[in-house]
Point group: C2
Chain length 209, copies 2
DNA sequence: TCAGACATGTAAGTCGTTACATGATTCA
DNA sequence: TGAATCATGTAACGACTTACATGTCTGA
């Protein structure tokens, strides 16, 4: 059986909002989904062609914003079916492949300072991530109060009588990232305390003997 | 510049414990690192050959446990250098590619029930994950009290005067997974409450008009 | 004797990034 | 005029999984 082809489904999902070009899709992903999804042009354009070949989308020439020709893709009825089938299918659990944890585990037989240095680096990274998240959250909460998508997104997202559902879901996706990041930071504190406590115990044990 | 080749480094890290066969490495990963790392045989065996070709490991024939011939790999001095260089290098932040969040985001313009169903599925998965984690944790905490690795690991891990440092690091890696899973579950609760609250507000607004 | 663990590997295919190639338009 | 943005694509490479192929040894 063929694999999931999540890129295909992600694209179909966005096209179900409104017709877009590959470039638009990339921008939309960068603005809205950056915290949990990414697609490169190297994936995007070939996949769009494939979608047309399969009859899940149609391409037509369009003028961008008075600029050169661009390819605007629309989802077909069949495309909508594929998309909504995918939504119904069971989602595979988040795969776990974490380079930091691998390194950390492998410092187990090295000096403790190595393990701690790794944690501190991780901590710095996650703090930065949290700041970025918090920024986005502020913008979104404001938008939620005004019940419409942020300016940068509104052109791309297409028309909707009431965006407040999409907005809430958007905000919750962001919250997910924030909670994860907070949990990672809390773990860093916990882990550093454990390692320091162990060090102290060892030092005092050595002094005793 | 060439990519990271984390598989290579992971293998070197494990070989730095003691000489092992490809099969041993696979087992060790399955038992100890399963929660944050994985390698398939399709990666493992070719990488081991590559390692020998590069002079980072040596291969010698060995008799398993009275069984057929097996290839036992040992790390070389150069291999140790490559490994410890990798430990020093900056770790790339955890990449974010979460199929659940993608789906969830894309239900924003569907019915709310879709979004909720997705969360509930996620919740079930994470609950199961948490149970598996808790089991492993119990075993590890017991081992930590006895200051030695669990039986299943002790043969593979090789000799060490005192494993309590490795053990603590092992436990902390596990704790990381547990904290993440707990955070995901907490988010599920939070998100479900938000969606329900919004539904109630809508319903009462409709009744008003 | 036969299932299951031990043990090593290859081939095909998917998935995904990066670098490259091209060229138009806009605006400072 | 030249940088930035708009816009579309390909080629090469690397990472990773799955299925396949092969064979041994142990113990119920």
């Amino acid at each position: 059986m063929p694999k999931k082809q999540k890129t295909r489904c992600a694209i179909l999902g966005l096209l179900s909002w409104q017709p877009m070009s590959g470039y638009d899709i990339k921008k939309l992903i960068q603005m809205g989904l950056q915290h949990f999804w990414n697609e490169s042009y190297g994936q995007l354009y070939p996949t769009l062609n494939q979608l047309v070949a399969e009859g899940l989308a149609t391409r037509k020439e369009g003028a961008g914003q008075g600029r050169r020709k661009r390819h605007v893709y629309s989802i077909t009825a069949q495309g909508r079916r594929v998309f909504s089938d995918w939504l119904q299918e069971p989602t595979e659990p988040v795969p776990v492949r974490n380079e930091f944890l691998l390194k950390f585990f492998l410092t187990g037989r090295q000096e403790e300072s190595q393990s701690m240095r790794l944690i501190e680096e991780y901590q710095r990274q996650e703090k930065e991530r949290l700041e970025a998240f918090t920024m986005s959250e502020q913008i979104l909460r404001k938008a939620l109060r005004q019940r419409s998508l942020p300016d940068e997104l509104i052109d791309l997202a297409g028309p909707a009588e009431d965006d407040s559902n999409q907005l809430l879901v958007f905000l919750l996706s962001l919250t997910h990232g924030i909670r994860m990041t907070e949990a990672r930071l809390a773990w860093c504190g916990e882990a550093l305390r454990s390692l320091r406590a162990r060090k102290r115990r060892q030092t005092s044990a050595k002094r005793q003997s």
